[in-house]
Assembly symmetry: C2
Homo-oligomer: 202 residues x 2
């Protein structure tokens, strides 16, 4: 007893729906509290049928978390490329890209930050490495500005941590269609970052 016309498009549709439902459920309830039966219900199929689209629940989490971190790393490279040589421009561009991502991909960012301990040791270590590389990218931006005499900070490391962390926090409260636009939040954070590194207001 199958539905008469179950597929409006090719089967790719369902795979995308699984990923989409996982994003919402993992972000809302957390990975461990989300069961395959919840996930299946959200998609409109049976739990066992999920395995036509994903190898395992863990693989789904790995794909989400690593995909997110890869996107952040790409965004940072892209921002640096576009910003040109000025240290302040570069820091603002990087911060805005960071914040923009955390607004526009709230669920991914949220999962990537909260579910690290739900990853198996291998993927977890790789993810932490990527995070470290990402932070180092920001730290270098700050150190460059200090060396150029444009920034003044007590601790480049703590400052990069602080800038990244305040952006990560955006993912916990930002709502699309809320009172604040993505652009507004990104602009505020860009200015905050500049102030934090002791660059004069523009």
């Amino acid at each position: 007893m199958r539905d008469v016309s179950p597929e409006p498009g090719p089967g790719r549709r369902t795979s995308a729906a699984v990923r989409e439902a996982a994003l919402t459920l993992f972000a809302e309830r957390g990975y461990e509290l989300t069961t395959m039966r919840h996930l299946a219900e959200a998609v409109g199929i049976q739990a066992a049928s999920l395995y036509n689209h994903i190898p395992s629940k863990q693989a789904l989490l790995v794909e989400i978390t690593h995909g997110t971190m890869d996107a952040l790393l790409r965004g940072l490279r892209e921002a640096k490329r576009r910003a040109g040589p000025d240290p302040a421009d570069r820091l603002v561009a990087a911060t805005e890209a960071h914040v923009r991502f955390h607004c526009e991909h709230r669920r991914e960012a949220f999962i990537g930050n909260r579910e690290i301990s739900s990853l198996e040791p291998g993927p977890r270590q790789e993810l932490l490495d990527k995070r470290r590389r990402y932070e180092h990218g920001f730290r270098r931006l700050i150190q460059d500005g200090v060396r150029a005499g444009r920034f003044s900070v007590r601790s480049p490391k703590l400052t990069s941590f602080a800038i990244l962390e305040m952006g990560i926090g955006v993912a916990t409260w930002f709502r699309e269609g809320g009172p604040l636009s993505v652009d507004a939040v990104a602009a505020v954070h860009g200015e905050l970052a500049l102030r934090m590194v002791g660059a004069p207001d523009r």
Copy 2:
């Protein structure tokens, strides 16, 4: 067959050990991944014996998360009281207390931030209310400074979010006995907060 001299002190000892083990395990693996058998093993008793000390796993989480938030609220009141009337002094004192707590009670802070979705609806809502009150306390500090003409910010709300969030992040990387002292981290964050609100460097 019991141990001959199992209790060096009164039974209170074990209850404290349960709480202590829960702090470490919930922080390291997360609430859902921590089983009562893990917890019992860490304490050195059987899983069922835990129920001589706690009513349920959930009650343990509620106690930890609410105790943490209550302590933060007390710390904020205390900092305001000690700092006197100057807006900059008050903001620095509050920020330093916030950061200090997140250094000295890393595990509690970590759990309180990550395991909100593992709380049952009632306690969860109460915790979120406390968090809101805590944030409003910081926001008022900023607004007071703005009204006094000492601070200049684009958005008091976003700025208080950012200051709090960067402090929360400290709990993820700070290590007692590491290269940075609690005092040093608190001082850096105090200065960062001042810069973020546009107060002139002291």
